[in-house]
Amino acid sequence: MLIFNVGALARQIGVHRNTVTNWIKSGKLAARPATAKKYIISEQEFRKFCTREQVQGNILNRILSKADAEKEAPITRKTQKIPQREPSMKQKNLGSVMVVGGGIAGIQASLDLADSGYYVYLVEKSSGIGGAMAQLDKTFPTNDCAM
């Protein structure tokens, strides 16, 4: 049994999702509605359909093998995300930090991180950094110039 959702299947075959919906409506793809906006079709039927529509063998196999994997270990949303993310974090991103806001707090956080060996992306929405402190004339209690 293959359980699929229209959008995902359309992406895998390489057609628009409306095309898939039309196939189902017209009976070309003999799938029955399942729960949660998904459809269900027997593997045999699906193979027949694929030969009819000339879907490449490797795509068919990928779709079916993924279905097998899903059957064996039902993947919840949480577990799906973590294994994908962690390796990429370790490889690419571990050494960098994004700091949002270029006021005195954002500047200090960026300086500390950059000075201790992290790549920093400092993101500021206006055309210059400095924030509210740059607008101040003097600061208490020493009356130092804020600039």
């Binding site: 960098s96 806001g101 956080a109 600039m147």
Partner: protein
Amino acid sequence: MEKCIACGLCAEKCPKKVDDEFNMGINKRRAAYIKYGQSVPLKYAIDPENCIHLIRGKCKACEKFCPTGAINFDDTAKIVKIDVGAVILAPGFQPFDPSPYDIYGYGRIDDVVTSLDYERLLSAGGPNMGHLIRPSDHQEPKNIAWIQCIGSRNNNRCDNTYCSSVCCMYAIKQALVTAEHLSGDDVSQTIFFMDIRSHGKDFERYYENAKTQGINFVRARPHTIDPGPDGVGASLRFTTETGETIQQFFDMVVLSIGLEASKHSIALAQTFGVELDTYKFAQTGSFLPVSSSRPGIFVTGAFQAPKAIPRAVAQASAAASTAAVMLTEGRGTLTTRKTWPEPLDISDAEPAVGVFVCSCGINIANIVDVTEVARHASTLPNVVYVENNLFTCSADTQELIAEKIRTHGLNRIVIAACTPRTHEPLFQETLKDARLNGYLVEMANIRNQNAWVHQREPERATEKAKYQVSMAVAKVVNSVPLAQEMLKVIPRALVVGGGVSGMTSAIAIADQGFETVLLEKSAALGGNALSIEKTFKGEPVRPMLESLMEKVTAHPGITVETNAKITSVSGSVGSFVSDIDVGGQIKKIEYGVAVMATGGREAVPTEYHYGSDERVMTHLEFDGNVMGIFRKDAKARKNEKILPGSVREDSSVGEISHRDVSMAGEGTAEVPGSIVFIQCVGSREPERPYCSRMCCVHSVKTAITIKESSPETSVYILNRDIRTYGVWEKHYQRARELGVIFIRYGVHDKPRVNPEQDYISVKTIDPILQMPLEIHADFLVLASGVVPNDNSEIIQLFKCSANEDGFLNEAHPKLRPVDMSVDGLFLAGMCNYPKPIDESIEQAMAAASRACVVLSKETMELDAIKSFVTERCDGCALCLDVCPYNAISLKTVEPPGQDTAKLSGGQGDELKEQGGLNGRAKKQIITDPALCKGCGICFATCPKEGIMVHGFTMNELKAQVAAALA
């Protein structure tokens, strides 16, 4: 953007004027603009909402005039995807906008301005160049009022209920600074307030000083603001404490507006999926004060809660530290270090000077005849190449300079342009790229020190510029390549103090992979937190403290030494060496940085019969001995007996009106019927002129616990100002809702306490009723302040400093709140100033972050501008006392013959004649380059050129003076 040289022509030629938001719309800017003069990056931007070309397709004036072709109208916003390991959100706050509220008169009355408007009016870089004039008639205001808590501590009309915690102090600052901006002695400043909250380090002194400077503080909230006569100034009506209604006229009224979450930051929180609290600030916990509700996303600054600059800066470092702990493995993987080619050996080469004269667009060229200056330069000795550039600092000119160095064999460079403060590093890099030592460049500041100040005398300005160039050439000919010393950093940290701050710092440093030694002078870790029940947010302290203690003892990177103290210190940042005494045994440790977290403690009161009557207690004693009864479930206590307590007007006034709150009942334990807190015991007094910051919140929180558990118990808090700063204002509100009675007393009219057999009599005067009151209390709780632990040994050993109250000093009260004045030393927690647990943890994490900045470097490059000892030094040691950095010390040099031979001719002979060295040890000074900052005070003090500063040697200076006098 790379092409922009910030000449400002685009802004000059842009025909479109719009309100300048940086100056709060007081003046206009163009559609091509920079935010402010010192803007970083210093690149002009085009405001797409106002640019005539971008709206209507015409104009392009800026493009026509831009000398570098930097204008690109097609440059639009792009979506850039970046992958990062952590995110720090620091979107800040928005100033409260009073314009929708008619009662404040903002927008309706010209001379009612917000505090941020006023800040711009005061600023030398502001719309009026720092000349203070009121908006209505452009006259100097003489009589100015500030109204506090605009948009704070108010839930009437969509204001904010929290305290913004900075407005009291900035209003006092503005009032003080105002006097400097106005002529004449008839200036009058009045601040209308509810409570003055000067709860930071040295803030109370600032407030007391303001009072002596003649600033009027009026405890009232003006309820009506009307325009003044002829539309100038404003009239305020307010009711004094005695109930009298007063109308007063002011030339100008400043609304002390609060800080609130902006719609941008709320949207940002949604984008990142982090939770906000009831006030729309980021939700955080007391023990993880910079961690948002989502892992990997950290928050800091006014986005987390309204706060002043030092705490925002410390929090930013804390966020950096927390992110760094998470990403320790990735440190250094994505960053690169710039390297330069090996410099050429020029020791044998004749000086060949290249002079580059900058026009700075029109900045210099309009006043100074730059071609004439260039011609003059070519006549100077040793000058082999001269050129005039439109902008010597532009990227293409750097390439040109490098090329000329190669083709003309230049080995010294003079840049006649602007200030070395901003541009010297750039030219030093250009030289290094061209295989010259970076210290072979000299700048002649013919802009700031010439063109800008002599605008009316172009001819004499040109003459002066020639002299400036001559001087620079004369000096640079005598310059020599200087080496920057490298110092190896010992990757180990020492943390002094095993309280919450010290333990947090130690863990944060060790988690970043650096070995840490934690010293605790007592036998056990924990510090003050051992006697604290809950944080201000209500989290129980004990579990957190236990997990901290477990973590430090189990951490493989942390060595805990109890019963330990430091006995000696030598070395400087990157490599300190100390002996530590661990229970009588001396151990030697080497470390690169140290964090001071020596803490503070509750002061022992001497007043109000403390010590003689056991019903009079301090906060911590009360928490430990009495509060247990209130922490029990109210139901379990249902049948317990409540002691009688009563309040009545003092019998001496005649009238007696008992309000008996005794609730007789059958039970086992006795619940007190009446509890009195007295605030500021020993604080804000001449002997301890500071506010201990947390006693108000502590008393109020305790009062809430009592009232929630036993509503029948009467709780009185006698105070001078209630300082529940920031979001803790909610506790003050809650306490009042629960019926806690707050009575203010004056510093000269303190409560009088008399212990009686069955009760403690507390007599005070209610300022609203103007009546004496007597309260019969079962317990009297004294909110005694915090005193620092004794830091004198630390101060002596490390040569660091403390303020008059004994709290260790930071390097800069705003911008370097956890660095100490001695490099490589950091501080955290109550040794710096009294503070609650969450702020101590923030500071501890910040100190760890700053410490790891040093520890993460294997070596440190020191600046080459340092003092050095010459052979003329005879060890008179005059320089020792003047050195502000303790970089100079005296040493004994082994005598005899061969040493004298080494001395330069004349000096050695002299000494021989005097028989000075025969058989006797010679004294000489040595300087520590790691401590020296190159200030030159030693050089100026030395009567015999025994010590000089690299880059400013006598030869260089003499040549410069000679050129100036030529």
